[in-house]
């Protein structure tokens, strides 16, 4: 009873905290100075049409590196917490149809994923979204129990190398240009092209690969390791 009252007070209190924000909220009309700088910079300096991508990969690249790290930590952490055992594995009595179609489907999904992250600087979407798509492909494999062995060490290898490559490009930024994670280590190219915007697509692709492998790792660990 006391607890219910306390919960009520807590929730009402939270409402009281947020109420002034709602009542004082004004929809903005204009970009603030910083955002405007981003938009201008993305188009003119980095030649990246997708401003969000340029913010993610370049301007706030350190965040993204951190974010990848968080996901990596989650992978490792889940692995540490769950002692994977074979019997825990999810078994779905996959029909033959599913097995065959899934192989085809997976290939298509993979292609889609790769497309998404390579075009991250041009269109909405990018490394994360592409990575998830790839992971969902693996998920399908996992569920359909096709005989395709998901070799864990390869997974780790891909995961590690893509991460290291990401960091390496960042370091190249220090060595070759002015700062860590500067995309100008590669030529900026022409605005709107696939191979443009310096290292942005490369980084986003690496992110895509890394996120994909990490998410797959999590799925595999949660679903039951081989």
């Amino acid at each position: 009873m006391i607890k219910n009252v306390a919960v009520l007070i807590a929730v009402i209190g939270l409402v009281a905290i947020f109420l002034p924000i709602i009542s004082g909220f004004q929809e903005r009309d204009e970009l603030n100075e910083l955002a405007a700088q981003y938009v201008e910079g993305s188009i003119n300096e980095l030649r990246v049409p997708n401003v969000v991508t340029s913010v993610i990969v370049t301007y706030r690249g350190l965040d993204t590196l951190g974010e990848v790290t968080v996901l990596f930590l989650a992978t490792v952490g889940v692995g540490l917490i769950l002692k994977g055992k074979k019997e825990d594995r999810i078994k779905i009595s996959a029909s033959e149809l599913l097995e065959t179609t899934s192989s085809v489907l997976v290939a298509m999904i993979m292609v889609l994923g790769i497309y998404i992250f390579t075009h991250g600087h041009l269109t909405p979407g990018g490394g994360f979204q592409g990575g998830v798509v790839i992971a969902s492909g693996f998920l399908l494999l996992l569920l359909s129990n096709v005989s395709l062995k998901m070799n864990h060490s390869i997974m780790h290898f891909v995961e590690s190398l893509s991460g290291v490559a990401y960091v390496a490009i960042g370091v190249a930024g220090i060595v070759l240009t002015v700062g860590f994670l500067n995309p100008e280590v590669l030529p900026l190219g022409k605005f709107g092209n696939l191979l443009s915007a310096g290292a942005v697509p490369v980084i986003y692709s690496l992110i895509g690969i890394k996120v994909g492998s990490e998410l797959t790792s999590i799925l595999v660990t949660m679903g039951g390791e081989k």
């Binding site: 905290i17 910083l34 965040d63 790290t69 952490g77 960091v167």
Partner: protein, 1040 residues
């Protein structure tokens, strides 16, 4: 100059690659792992050196080739470098500590650990609040996962609670971040100013700051943290408690400039509240790691409060306070958690097993002392300056809370320490000897704590080597501790002599010289009795020298801080000496608690005092200081605690009685005089600048009541040392009362009595030590008739009790004569009446002492007992010689004392030849002596001439109502000797003070037990606390 960004780069690359390395073998992954951690430490050490010593400007790292605020930038200034150096160092050491786990466990734990440390580095350096969020999450997730390094139900459920709390806190932090962005248009701290936030913008700041604050575990929204501390592996906990907290605390520090003062005050108060309640709840805690958890949380609260309340003061002092508290917490808490991991016993009661491993026990003590804010550790300096800041800014409520909280902390820490030193551990499984990887970090931090403290002291205060002599003494004796105790004893004697020789020219004032004789010469003579020690007595001489040197240093201390430093050294060393006694656990703890309470008051008193202009010794320069009234009051109470005044005396009998028998003389005869010295110091200040309120009038009454109360309690003791202890209390009551008169005669009598007391009480305690050495008992009723077996000791006791009682012709009468004359001249008539009563009562206990031990019937088991060893007899007779000398020639002492007192007052006595004359009367000690000798000789000769043949009879040959007594036990009147007096005094004889303090203790424990009930163990309730906490903080801050 390697950019600190490489810490992130290297950690990440190696982190990503570790699992691949691991395939090649654990050796490789471990090498890489430790290399990176070492690299971090080295890099930060290098940067710290550059920034702090070479004064290179703050290093800014812009990422992505753009300047802030467009891109994220990292900054490395002195503060960052310091925090990160220490955090990385702790990280490395904790990793070393966890070496076995890392070698055997999964590689995942290595990765998590490495990235955790990286997260800390990033969190501290980043200037971007969203980036902060990311690093916070890196930190949190790796920590969550690492809590399961030791996987069982407890760690899992604790980890889950931690995640729930952390998850919600970071959600709020994220909200805060975007709201800040919404209002400020930037995420970079360097580009925000406080005036960008007003109205609802403050809510953004509120969310940002309160969520970080929640992560810092404020009371009561911190149950999750306690569970984690209690259950999770010690190595990881040390990281959580120290490294994580440091990083998050630093993040909070970075956003502090944005916060309006009402927020800051609320946070500071919340910190204080946390500190207070955590420590109060710690009182009731029995589980070692949870206890450390309470302490950690408390320390973080204090650190936060110090961050807030030191805003605007001189930066150097601010860094000293914050840095000192932080360093102290970091080193000692990490060390203690590691030790807790090595000991493995959960209940602090079982920590006696630590005695198997002496070095570890020493380190344990070291950390406990450091954490309690004792010198020379960093916390001491920080606390001193912090108190000063609080006083200067008139935050008395905060001050009081901090001090009471500190006292609580000290109580549970020292209880724990005394348990480790004393508690019986025979039935427990002996502790396994820990491996090198576990011992090394603990030792390293122990040494670091000591070295850094010393360094800090030198740098900041520019110290005189004499001030650290007490510590040097301990170290020196530790080096030669394997020698036999006699050799060490002689070395110590030589050291004291040398110290005295060195000190002598520094004692320019008569008053210093006088106390120098009491402190140094008295100690030297008392030291002789310790030469009787047969066993190796490890540590004993170190602590003893520490204590003696700190006595001496009190005399020459030229600043408040030096005085207080020596005072605390004295407290610590005497505590350790008392603790050596066989059953001294409780006694020493009580001593420490009261002493510390007194020390806090002294600290506060000095903090109120105006700055000193002179560089002379404090005791000489204090007369030019205009102390405020509050200083007088708190200092008086502080010093009276040390001198065992009534009401705060309950430590005294226990400490005297339970200390080793050759330590008790030091405590009674010399240590109590330190309190007197303090009061005298205060008195001198009073003479020249008396405050409006007559403090010393009340001090005088307290002294008088102490005298009578002590005398009564002494009369009812069965334990010889307790009797002497209460007698000391009573005698010091006289001294205090006499001092409090602030008159010439009063001071002469006080000093006279102090000197006299030093001699006769030393002699008595050493005599009792000799008796205890032979009989192995302190219970007086178990003795009797020892006069025939120990005549030399009897003689000492006889002479001493005559000197105590004030019966002419010995020196005691001089004291009585002076004191009553002084009282009557002063006009304190009723006080004088009470003192008369006290001196009457003192006959009761004196007679009891001598009768029950030496007279009456000899016990069977003592029939063959020998005289006490010469080492006990020699100092007794040295003191007796002193007593006889000043009895025969009182001018030997009256004249110098007259001169001392004349420095402050006009003389009120005349010395005409051998006669001392006061306004009221006169006294010729010399003539009295001769007359007494004569009147003694006459009956004696008469008796010898008149009496018939003397027939010595057997023990039981007495006139006993037709019966012949069978055993000495039934015939010796000793037990409860003054039953009738106790009966007639009724309620007056009840131990009310004891009861009062017991109930204080009980109440604080009960309150602690009550408040800790908020920690129900239910993760959901903890979450509710967090939400309610946020709501309440909002209400508090909104209300202001």
């Amino acid at each position: 100059m390697v950019s600190p960004i490489y810490i992130l780069i290297l950690s990440l690359s190696v982190g990503f690659l570790l699992s691949i390395f691991d395939r090649a073998g654990r050796k490789f992954s471990l090498t890489a792992f430790y290399s990176v951690l070492t690299f971090n430490v080295a890099l930060m050490g290098d940067w710290l050196y550059r920034l702090a010593v070479l004064h290179v400007p703050t290093f800014v790292i812009n990422t992505a080739g753009f300047n802030a605020p467009v891109s994220i930038n990292l900054e490395l200034g002195v503060a960052e470098a310091l925090v990160l150096f220490l955090a990385n160092l702790t990280g490395l050491m904790a990793a070393v500590y966890l070496f076995d786990k890392f070698r055997e466990g999964k590689v995942s734990s290595l990765i998590l650990y490495l990235l955790l440390v990286m997260g800390v580095n990033g969190l501290v350096m980043t200037q971007d609040i969203f980036n902060m969020f990311v690093f916070l999450e890196i930190l949190s997730i790796s920590t969550f996962a690492l809590t399961t390094l030791k996987k069982n139900l407890k760690t899992l459920s604790a980890g889950f609670k931690y995640m729930i709390a952390g998850g919600v806190a970071s959600t709020f932090f994220l909200l805060g971040v975007v709201f800040v962005y919404y209002f400020a248009g930037t995420l970079n701290l360097g580009f925000m100013t406080a005036d960008q936030f007003s109205g609802i913008g403050l809510i953004a700041l509120f969310l940002l700051s309160v969520s970080l604050f929640i992560e810092l575990k404020p009371f009561p929204a911190n149950g999750w943290a306690l569970d984690v501390y209690q259950s999770v592996d010690s190595g990881i906990v040390s990281v959580i408690a120290v490294v994580n907290s440091a990083a998050i605390g630093f993040a909070f520090y970075k956003i502090m400039p944005l916060l309006p003062s009402s927020f800051l005050t609320a946070f500071g108060m919340a910190g204080i509240v946390t500190f207070f309640f955590s420590n109060m709840m710690g009182l009731k805690q029995e589980n070692a790691k949870r206890l450390l958890g309470y302490s950690s949380i408390g320390q973080m609260g204090l650190l936060l409060a110090s961050l807030v309340f030191t805003i605007g003061i001189e930066p150097a002092v601010r860094y000293l306070i914050i840095g000192g508290l932080f360093l102290n917490h970091l080193l000692s808490k990490a060390g203690l958690f590691w030790i807790a991991g090595i000991v493995k016993e959960e209940k602090i009661r079982n920590w006696g097993v630590l005695r198997n491993n002496k070095p570890l026990l020493v380190l344990f003590g070291l950390f406990i002392f450091a954490l309690s804010g004792l010198p020379p550790f960093a916390g001491f300096w920080a606390k001193w300056e912090f108190v000063k800041v609080l006083v200067d800014s008139k935050m008395f409520f905060v001050l009081g809370t901090v001090l009471v909280g500190s006292l609580f902390e000290l109580i549970f820490l020292f209880r724990w320490f005394t348990m480790a030193v004393k508690e019986n551990a025979d039935e427990l499984e002996p502790m396994a000897s820990p491996g090198f990887s576990r011992i090394f970090p603990v030792s390293f931090f122990g040494i670091l704590a000591a070295v850094v403290s010393f360094g800090a002291m030198r740098c900041f205060y520019g110290s005189n080597w004499l001030q650290v002599l007490p510590v040097i003494a301990v170290l020196f004796i530790t080096l030669i501790d394997s020698l036999p105790s006699k050799v060490k004893g002689f070395i110590s004697l030589a050291a004291v002599a040398g110290y005295g020789y060195y000190l002598y020219p520094l004692l320019t004032g008569n008053i210093q010289l006088f106390f120098g004789v009491i402190f140094i010469a008295g100690s030297a003579v008392n030291l002789i009795s310790t030469l009787n020690r047969k066993n190796q007595s490890k540590g004993f001489y170190g602590f003893l020298l520490m204590m003696i040197f700190s006595f001496g240093n009190l005399l020459i201390a030229s600043t408040y801080l030096e005085f207080f430093l020596s005072w605390e050294f004295m407290t610590l060393s005497s505590f350790l000496l008392i603790l050596r006694g066989q059953n001294a656990q409780r006694a020493s703890l009580m001593y420490m608690i009261f002493s510390t309470a007194g020390a806090y008051l002294i600290m506060v008193g000095f903090s109120f005092a105006p700055a000193l202009s002179s560089t002379a010794a404090l005791i000489l320069s204090i007369q030019d200081v205009n102390l405020p009234l509050i200083s007088f009051i708190v200092l008086a109470i502080g010093f009276m605690i040390k001198s065992g005044s009534v009401g705060v005396h309950i430590w005294l009998p226990e400490a005297h009685a339970e200390a080793e028998s050759d330590v008790s003389p030091f405590i009674s005869a010399i240590l109590l005089k330190a309190g007197v010295f303090g009061l005298l110091l205060l008195g001198i200040a009073y003479v020249s600048n008396a405050p409006s309120f007559d403090v010393f009038y009340w001090v005088g009454w307290i002294g008088v009541i102490t005298a009578i109360a002590g005398a009564f309690m002494a009369s009812f003791q069965e334990d010889a040392k307790k009797l002497l202890a209460y007698s000391s209390m009573s005698q010091v009551g006289y001294i205090v009362a006499a001092l409090a008169m602030i008159t010439h005669l009063g001071w002469v009598s006080a000093l006279y009595l102090a000197f006299n007391h030093m001699m006769f009480k030393s002699a008595l305690f050493i005599a009792v030590a000799g008796i205890y050495y032979r009989t192995r008992t302190r219970k007086m009723y178990e003795m009797g008739g020892l006069i025939s077996r120990m005549p030399w000791t009897y003689m000492t006791v006889l002479m001493s009790i005559i000197a105590v009682s004030g019966v002419p012709p010995l020196s005691g009468f001089g004291a009585k004569w002076l004191i009553y004359t002084a009282f009557i001249t002063k006009g304190w008539y009723l006080q004088a009446g009470v003192l008369f009563f006290a001196s009457g009562v003192s006959f009761l206990y004196l007679y009891r002492l001598i009768h029950t031990i030496f007279l009456g019937q000899l016990k069977y088991e003592h029939q063959e007992i020998k005289e006490a060893p010469a080492w006990f007899i020699i100092p007794q007779y040295i003191f007796l010689a002193g007593i006889m000398a000043i009895s025969m020639f009182p001018n030997l002492i009256i004249k110098p004392l007259n001169a001392i007192a004349m420095h402050y007052f006009d003389s009120s006595i005349q010395i005409d030849g051998l006669t001392v004359m006061s306004e009221l009367g006169y006294w010729n000690g010399n003539l009295v002596m001769y007359v007494t000798m004569a009147v003694f000789a006459i009956p004696f000769i008469m008796l010898l001439l008149l009496k018939g043949k003397t027939q010595k009879v057997k023990q039981f040959n007495i006139v006993y109502a037709a019966e012949r007594p069978e055993s000495p036990q039934t015939t010796h009147v000793a037990h409860n000797m003054y039953a009738h007096l106790r009966k007639s005094l009724g309620s007056l004889s009840l131990p009310r003070v004891q009861e009062f303090w017991n109930s204080v203790a009980e109440w604080s424990h009960t309150l602690g037990a009550f408040f800790r009930r908020v920690y129900t163990g239910n993760g959901q309730t903890y979450l509710l606390h967090i939400i309610l906490y946020i709501v309440v903080m909002y209400a508090v801050m909104g209300g202001q």
